[in-house]
Symmetry: C2
Subunit: 197 residues, 2 copies
């Protein structure tokens, strides 16, 4: 019920041969390529932040210089289930981010294709949840370690385990940076998908 | 450079008068309307889950029937910073979800418009992070309340505060349901944006 006569506009570019190299602002949709390149760079940053968070948390380990007859005071990441979750979660997120780099490269090469970006949006939002859950749950335990809680009679342990506390706090900050980058990635990909030009 | 002759196809539907009621599979893009309706229904469910989580957590309060000379044993949501965060976070998420319903209705009326869905994807991913952070941080404190932690000498309090523990656990489950619904909403909206027909 609809007939279209298209005088193909791309042919003129093919004849000139230079148009694709002239850069983003001149072609409609060139900003999509810019977004894809930024997506790739942000992903590299997120890989570093995720693996940094996992490594910082995994090496957090402190033994106090005094002990009783029955018990030696030691804190490491695997004495808190939440911190173990952060290490595993950040390792998974880092692995996913490395595996997602090829799809980001496909989006750079073919900036108008919706499929790779759609794929990235869906998986990004899944791993955004994993990263946020790890960061937030570790943050709440770090908060308890710093401040304690009166009604449950949990005492602050950061006076004793000061190195441990510093290292876990750093890992939490790094994990929240990963969360921020994921939010940028999702917003950028959905902008690129939604606009036609 | 492109000239289009459109013999408007909608006019025949208007004459027949019944075509829009025939259901999604017959028109190209009709599945987008179906997705928009599901989006609206899921949003209603998420409102209920978010406000339910906030209310359950806010009413969690237990006073133990024994006390010492100096201290009465009481636990309520505002004695744990994390639980206060869950209440505030879930109230904000519930408020956002109610305010997002009009945009979801716009997506039902104009299933091919990308703008309302793009707006919803971006705000949904922001509030997804808020909901996940609230749910995960409360979950880690609930876990500590159930199991305690040896290396920091935090004792499990759920033997004493059993009602309080049950109620906070229920609120955490409800908050995670909100997170799940948000993930469905983002996937559905990005599918609808990415496909042309």
């Amino acid at each position: 019920m609809s007939s279209t006569i298209d005088i193909v506009p791309e042919s003129s570019n093919v004849i000139k041969g230079k148009a694709p190299l002239l850069g983003a602002p001149q072609r409609p949709g060139g900003w999509k390529k810019g977004l894809a390149i930024m997506d790739f760079i942000l992903r590299l940053g997120a890989v570093a932040a995720a693996l940094g968070a996992a490594a910082t948390m995994a090496t957090a380990d402190q033994t106090l210089p005094f002990f009783t007859q029955y018990f030696q005071f030691e804190a490491s990441y695997d004495s808190f289930t939440t911190f173990t979750f952060l290490v595993i979660g950040m390792a998974l997120v880092g692995g996913y981010l490395v595996l997602s780099l090829p799809f980001s490269i496909v989006a750079i090469i073919r900036p108008h294709a919706a499929a790779p970006r759609l794929f990235l949006i869906i998986l990004d939002s899944v791993f955004l949840v994993l990263a946020t859950a790890g960061a937030a749950s570790a943050a709440s335990v770090v908060y308890l370690a710093h401040n304690g809680n009166q009604s449950s009679n949990w005492l602050a342990i950061c006076n004793q385990y000061s190195d441990f506390c510093n290292q876990t706090s750093g890992a939490v900050v790094s994990a929240f940076i990963v969360v921020l980058i994921f939010m940028f990635l999702i917003v950028m990909s959905s902008l690129a998908i939604a606009k036609k030009h």
